[in-house]
Symmetry: C2
Subunit: 304 residues, 2 copies
Amino acid sequence: MSLVVVGSVAYDSIETPLGARTDMLGGSGTFFSIAASAFTKTSLVAVVGEDFAKDDLALLESHGVDLAGLVTAPGRTFRWGGRYHDDMNSRDTLFTELNVFESFEPVLSPAQRESGFVFLGNIQPKLQDHVLEQVRSPRFVAADTMNLWINVARTELCDVLRRVDALFVNDEEARMLTSKRSVVLAAREIQALGPSLVVIKRGEHGAIVFNDDDIFYVPAYPLERVVDPTGAGDSFAGAFVGYLEATGDLSPENVRRAAVVGSLMASFCVEGYGVERLKRIDRIAVRERYQAFAELVRFGALDV
Amino acid sequence: MSLVVVGSVAYDSIETPLGARTDMLGGSGTFFSIAASAFTKTSLVAVVGEDFAKDDLALLESHGVDLAGLVTAPGRTFRWGGRYHDDMNSRDTLFTELNVFESFEPVLSPAQRESGFVFLGNIQPKLQDHVLEQVRSPRFVAADTMNLWINVARTELCDVLRRVDALFVNDEEARMLTSKRSVVLAAREIQALGPSLVVIKRGEHGAIVFNDDDIFYVPAYPLERVVDPTGAGDSFAGAFVGYLEATGDLSPENVRRAAVVGSLMASFCVEGYGVERLKRIDRIAVRERYQAFAELVRFGALDV
């Protein structure tokens, strides 16, 4: 198996101005794996509780996700609850029940240790490091993080950053990590910490990709209706890294394509609650929306 | 003269996290005219006070702005003061001194009444209507507005909207005008009120252009340093409408080019205080940054 992801598998309860849902399948590992499945198979390293539903296991398996690294531990599955504000761009966490996630110690199988592509989902930097230690000779390592780890585990996070090729953060996190107001300067400073590829995610405004000296701006797809933004960032990363692994091409041109594929998968994700829309996306839907992205930003040469 | 603009000419005092300036030349009419001057000459309908500096008149004239419609009235020039927040995306108004602007009644000269292109800057909708009444047979009318008029003069604003081809608003204003959360749905609803072309400006995130059924996403240029965001929206509109007037081509393809030109001129504007950077931009600088925009969003066909 060539793409291994460590992250959370969770049950999410969310409230939006449009409605509410309880105990939906979620978590960074879940969104990442399902998004990546349009291009490649992932091997998921995660933990669930004894309450984890067979249907949800079956859903992951039907997307070709290798579950050899999914541990079932005594207790309940990680649960998260959040409420989105009117603009759907910001949210409050209502509760976090770590449950089995609290004592999660990711252990990679012999096959997973040979992975070429690694995604370190948004977990404690020490655990990210622990995973990375176990991979023998990765070709491409990408990581996600969040404001919590920037605040309470900056040193450990910087240790991880020295060893990754790519970091996915939102603009607020990029500013926190660097104290730079300009996302351009923030990205440059993060590059100096390690990752040559820095993806600044901006929610409904898309993302800016800093890949060595190359700067690429990918929009978010303008949607008539955003149902549930949960998992958009992980879907972005899943499609991005999954596409790179599937093509095996890390050239700047292909990284740009990967970013478009990431943004389009995020746009599918937010069109449904949890994974309900994402899980239905196939290669044909991806190709169609890719064309729509090309049309969205197309313009001709200046004639004055 | 074929492009007439009605708007404010002001002295702005601004504070940003980087510094402060007092009594700089500003106002929607000023930014619009100077931005448009890269492509065409504008005829400015506005009012200034007896304190208006000869140097500032000379600056406008040096950009080919026709000042036959610039009235000097007894009293002081319109003044505005604002303080930008740390993110440079939001600001507080510190003071507004209408001064001579309070009794401004725009009167167009016989030549201005024959204009083909009209820009109604962000002034009271009744005044926008009064200007429009005076133009004999315009080919293209664009308008700007703001939250104040949406709140206190919605009926008059809707009267104006029925008669314009294009509206420039930010996403907050679009949502206020329509009560739609989605900018796509908000733009559709504004189109139903009159303008077939709706430009939703999003500050550092660029703009989305809804032109009948065509949707175009233009990024903002990622800058290392934003000095002063004042006038970015008016510079956007000035370059956009000025380019359309200069080319005389209202095709969807050319409207896309106009939007890029608008966004790039806004990016120049915010690189200096007031008009200090904008006033130095020539056709060569425009062409170079246009190429940079093309490079910024370029991506190839999908190969999976």
